[in-house]
């Protein structure tokens, strides 16, 4: 059998990267993802554009798959995400003894896409599909802090659920800066007064945040003070495992 045509292989690699991205990508991002020089990738993109397979965003110059090929342009399916994440969520629940959520952003809400119960056989209710506020939950704050593009701003002032809920714009912005800097978010009685949570991002192959992974429990069982809580370590490890599973199955 003759060897593969290198140019076709490279074009396919470029197209795969552009098609699987959740947003239009710049030349540098694409070149880095396929590990080729920018000049080579630019040539490939120009050809792909001339045959109508990719389009360029006018203001930014970023590339996306053309509408004609929209069928190929699959963003990460929530069911695939859940399938990849569940074994690691089980292990995280077993290790921490806490309830585990996998959460995605949908419009201006955080939506639970997978839920593993607190492993104590107590009566619990499945919360998959439940919408939660972005600004008052650890998962929501991770998603807000890492969102590209910025989610549609809530119409008015964020709702106050408890006396701990952050509702002032300045407070919330500082909190999101902290989340971006530290790589995790905390929730201390901000949505339900007696519930606390710690969350970290789950990243896709481009480093974008595909979801938030969180552990939740009674306030007295989770840390509330300053300093990095011990729970961040198993969370980051589990989130990394989910990411690697996603890359392998992609």
């Amino acid at each position: 059998m003759p060897g593969n045509v290198q140019a076709v292989e490279r074009a396919a690699a470029v197209l795969t990267v552009v098609a699987s991205a959740s947003r239009p990508l710049g030349l540098a991002d694409i070149a880095a993802a396929v590990d080729l020089p920018k000049t080579t990738v630019h040539g490939l993109l120009s050809t792909l554009r001339s045959v109508g397979w990719v389009e360029q965003d006018r203001p930014t110059g970023a590339y996306r798959v053309s509408r004609a090929l929209a069928g190929i342009a699959q963003s990460l399916d929530v069911a695939d995400l859940r399938s990849a994440a569940t074994p690691w969520m089980d292990a995280l629940a077993a290790e921490t003894g806490l309830e585990v959520h996998l959460v995605r952003i949908q419009g201006s809400a955080a939506v639970v896409v997978q839920h593993v119960y607190r492993p104590d056989n107590s009566p619990q209710r499945l919360r998959v599909g439940e919408e939660m506020p972005l600004h008052a939950t650890a998962s929501g704050k991770v998603l807000l802090a890492n969102a590209t593009p910025e989610p549609v701003a809530a119409a008015a002032r964020p709702e106050r659920f408890t006396r701990h809920t952050l509702v002032e714009g300045v407070e919330l912005e500082a909190e999101l800066d902290r989340v971006r800097r530290d790589g995790y978010a905390m929730e201390v009685g901000e949505y339900y007064p007696d519930v606390s949570s710690v969350a970290v991002p789950v990243r896709d192959s481009l480093g974008d945040t595909a979801a938030a992974l969180a552990v939740l429990g009674p306030r007295q069982e989770l840390p509330s003070g300053n300093g990095r809580p011990d729970l961040v370590t198993p969370l980051v490890r589990a989130a990394g495992s989910v990411s690697r599973t996603l890359w392998i199955s992609a």
Partner: protein
Amino acid sequence: MTVPRLVAAIDQGTGSTRCLLFDESAQLVSMAQRQHAQHHPRPGWSEHDATEIWANVRRVVPEALADAGATPADVVALGIANQRESCLVWDRATGQPLSPVITWEDTRASVVVDRIVADGHHDDVLRATGIPPSTYFAASRLRWLLDTVPDLEERCLRGEVAFGTMESWLIWNLAGVHVTDVTNASRTNLMNIEDLDWDPHMLAVFGIPERVLPEIRTTAETYGKCSDVLPGVPITAAMGDQQAALFGQTCFEVGQSKCTFGTGAFLLVNTGVVPQRSQAGLLSTVAYVLPGEKPVFALEGSVAVTGSLVQWCRDSLGLVATAPGIETLAASVDDNGGCYVVPAFSGLYAPRWDPAARGVIVGLTSFVNRGHLARGVLEAAAWQTADVVAAIQGVVDQPLPSLRVDGGMTTNHLLMQTVADVLDLRIERPLYSETVSVGAAYAAGLSAGVWPDLDTLSRLWRRACSWEPAMDHETRERERARWASAVERAQGWMDISDTVRP
């Protein structure tokens, strides 16, 4: 840092071989896995390479150990779970396989089964072994090998050959002893279901020389110590994979049940210490036997096509890009839009048993779209399960308290909710869907004294997810009737011969 005492499980499955390590609190510490090649040399034939599988065991166990930062000295016991009914013969002197592994999916031995049925032995076999003669079980495959491999029968009579299912092959290679466990032996058509030993009349019916067979042992006892892979570690349990899943789900009480949703679905219910007769398409099987205790039996109902229908939608129809994606597509509509899918790809199994049935999609109108079709696919998995549960409830007096589920499809919430709805039963998923390996580890740890008793194991079971029935009675009965009507339309299709011309 000290490594805790570990229990190792090897799951020698149809698609891959895995090693999982658990600590004393039954937490998963590490896992390694390798797939092996599937060979289909002719239509209806399905083989694995026993040498490749053994080589995979020799790789995955050290990988799992390395991942856990452990050495064989940290492992207190090894348990084995295996694909059932797949078997081979090997040379006792050299240890070399004399045949491929002929798998449970292989139907080449139908000539043997046809002959035994034609000779009037069907009822004898069912009475003695608790299961009807079938190509599904190992005896017919062994007879086929004796009929076709040159000199094999003579060499068997001279005691030069060993036969075994996969746990026997692995234990032989690990510890140099020729044994099988009673759950695997119960799937051969050769073991007497009452006294749990090889049945002389069955050996005569199938023409099997007893010298070729392994010794039948209980599910959880020390068979030997590993001289290879895990040197010095005792092998303290072995069981067929579905029984291991039942054990891993800690279904130790009569009436407790589990269903594994994979390419097909396997539902087993614990029926206690008296074997039930196989009936209504259900198979009577040994659940487990602990040393010095009465054997525990199970009824097993299987659905041939569940996950494989989703794979067909992905690979043959291009309906979805990935198997999990079927849920997203199905969730794009509120109901099935009147569309029903009966995946009788190779006939219908329990409880209808119609080999002439073939798949149908009915109820199509111009209203029906891809989403409705996807929903019909998921509902087919749920209703087939409901048919098996209905058959079980016809045999087991008490209503099932709940159904414990595992397998890859349990991340599909729409499917699990539909199963809860149509069964009108609470569905529960445990932490770790790896219940086959959990079961092998539990049995091995029980046998080695890591866990004292079944009650302790029961308390290790942890609910990770549950689905409560939410469908009203009227809707359920209406849908049940429509499903039954769709199944009727699938039945008897192959009776229309190819030779009929208009």
